[in-house]
Amino acid sequence: MMSGRHDEAVEELEKQVKILPSSDFAYFLLGQTYLLKEESQKAKESYEAAIRIRPDYTNAYYGLTSVCTKLGDREKAKEYSEIFKKLKAEERKGLKGRKVEYNDFFQTQRSAAITYINVGRMYRDNGKLDEAEEQLKQAAGLDPKNVICFLELASLYQAKKQPAKALQMYQKIRDIEPESPISYFMIGILSGHLKQFDDAEEAFGKMISLAPRKSDGYRELARLYLKTGRMLPQARQLAGKAVTLGGTAANYFVFGWACYATGDFTNARAAVKRAVELDPGNAQYKHLYKQIQQRK
């Protein structure tokens, strides 16, 4: 529209209002374009559609004032101009006395960051992980509070087998959203993988406190204790809690493992059997089940 390609603009906007009939802005732009094309009746209909969706759409009333004047309907033009004036006055009331001038700089940065993220995803999907990383880093620089960006980066680092960097990304997410359990979960997993067991224990503990009705924190803390061969009774207790909260294959498996580690072979057998039933393709479960069976 701004470059004078009005026919193309109309074509696209007509498509847009079909796809998204609730878009007041698309109808407004359509009105503007028809106005520029000097198709006043169509412009009027588009502006009217915009105000049906948003009855206080100030600029659409301005468009209606202009178009009704062009159509020679002075009564309607006057009516719309009065509404426009009233709405403008309301807007000005809101602005009066404000201490901070409107500044869209941050919004622009945030929008640019989203573009970088989308470009990064395209590179990633095409297997160009280094290029994807560059784009995502640009996004992170523009919008350092964009969690999606750090999630994408973390996922990328995991794909590149760089767990330490992935861990840093989840730590950033934790700093941005300290009440969100998911970052603690991943910090726990990755810290465990990097043999930073104290950090892992702390992270899972935090996750349990933030999401006590979710089984994952209990299970992974239990798994951490089992892997490190310490706190085995607590591990069994935690795994039992996990099974109570969610009867998943993973929960049954860790509970079975904890029972086995604490000498309770009966419960171990039953739990791991259940895990195998729920996830028959899992080789790890089958291996432990076979081990318990041999013990008999």
Binding site: S3, Q32, S81, K99, E101
Partner: protein, 566 residues
Amino acid sequence: MRTSASGCQSSCFLRKSAAVGLLCLYVLLSDCVSASIRLRDMTKQTGIAFIHTDGSSGKRYIVETVSAGVALFDYDGDGDIDIYFLNGAPLRGTTVKVPPKNALYRNEGGWKFTEVTDSAGVGDAGYGLGVAVGDYDNDGDPDIYLNNYGFNLLYQNNGDGTFTDVTKKACVANGRKVGAGACFLDIDKDGDLDLYVANYVDFTYENHQIVRFNGYPAYVGPMNYYPTSDTLYRNNGDGTFSDISIESGIAAHKGTGMGMICADYDNDGDTDIFVGNDVAGNSVFENNGAGKFEEVGLITGLAYDLGGTAQGTMGVECGDYNNDCLLDFYVTSYQRDLATLYRNLGDGSFEDVTRVTAAGDGTLPHVTWGNSLVDFDNDGDRDIFIACGHLHDNVELFDNVTSYHVQNILLENTGGERFVNVSDKCGDGLEVKLSSRGAGFDDLDNDGDIDVVILNSRWEPTVLRNDSANDNHWIQICLGGVKTNSDGIGAHIKVTAGDLTLLDEVHSGRGYQSHYGMRLHFGLGNRDRVDRIEVHWIGGGIDVFENIAANRLLTLTEGGSKAVSE
């Protein structure tokens, strides 16, 4: 299959040929564009030593951002256009050794200017914002009105190269307001010039505010203050004026006035008023012919841009860009608004044609100020000059798309339908990067083309000589009012040369709080004679002058039958 392949090859060949042809045409046209207008920076050669000050000390008072305008006029009647620069003054918290003041430079010819401020007695040390020039006492010489932050000032021209401050006697001081543009006009067609004084906002030191952008201190906008109404003075014909703001209908409308112009846009024989408002709908006051005004900004389509958005209007200019003999308006604006061209539809309404004409090209990132609709290359259509520069002196710290110091913009009119941005192709005059404000456009060297003077905030001015090389013809016209005001302010002049008919109007006060162009200039293209000149004087009288050779400055006297060549 062979035929098809051959046809395809032939088609490809034709396409390639066409592409090469188009490329050649483009190169040819680009060269034409680049050669059409040439503006050379002459500042250093002029001897002008004026430096603008905004009186700032880091406190960021809003008035610092909007200073100041410039006036171009022949103060001593020697036939050369002289330059009067407005200056700021120390604001609270600022100390200076030598107080700054306005400066008048006499044009000595040959691009030499001599400062005559003190001998002429026009060195006002008030905080200068807007200026208008007009012969308010009809004694044949131009007087100066200054619209300041603080008391305004009227300088009466004594006719001997000196001026006298007659503010008190004339009763036009206008209180301690933040001024803006000002214009002399004859509101009631009684033959003397009345005075419109635009006011900005209700800023005082006590209600001063600043903001922070990304943590950096910045100036507030006009929305942080209450708008104010403007002032209209009626000339009593005895050297005094009366404030008729209320009875004229002007005072009923508050705004955030900036640049302004007075023009008979509806061709009904009286002068109307267009005041640009900053972040508010522009005010358009339609004259009923007797000095009563109705505000018609919204219904004329001049209050808001195409989308109904109020712009941060700065400068207001008037001219017929498409030669349909209707006066159009061009306004400059704040960053993220396009400077906007309003086409006169001839029925009292206007249409925003900025996008379809590309008349705002290049303006979006900048704050834009002084402006013109002037034919720089004498090809018979009016081009656009836009003075640019941000008002935040630290804008680079929080905005990476603009700067405090930027290039000005020149848009060449390519035949009344579309403008082309030639800023990078028209010589070193547009390479200057400063923070410009007011700008004036007149023929400083009397060579038949329009030169440029730009006031730059906190810096020296820029003076540009028009070196456009072409064989185009031109004519310039000075009016001599007899029954009407002596400068013919408000008169419409129609010039017909062959197939070309051009319209202009005499204005006092225009653009961004500036004054220029009372000697009307018409580019004639390849037409070397003017068939007819019609002058429609503000009182209703019409004079016709015929068969005049081009390339000269004429004086047309009201009621006369012969054009006098200077």
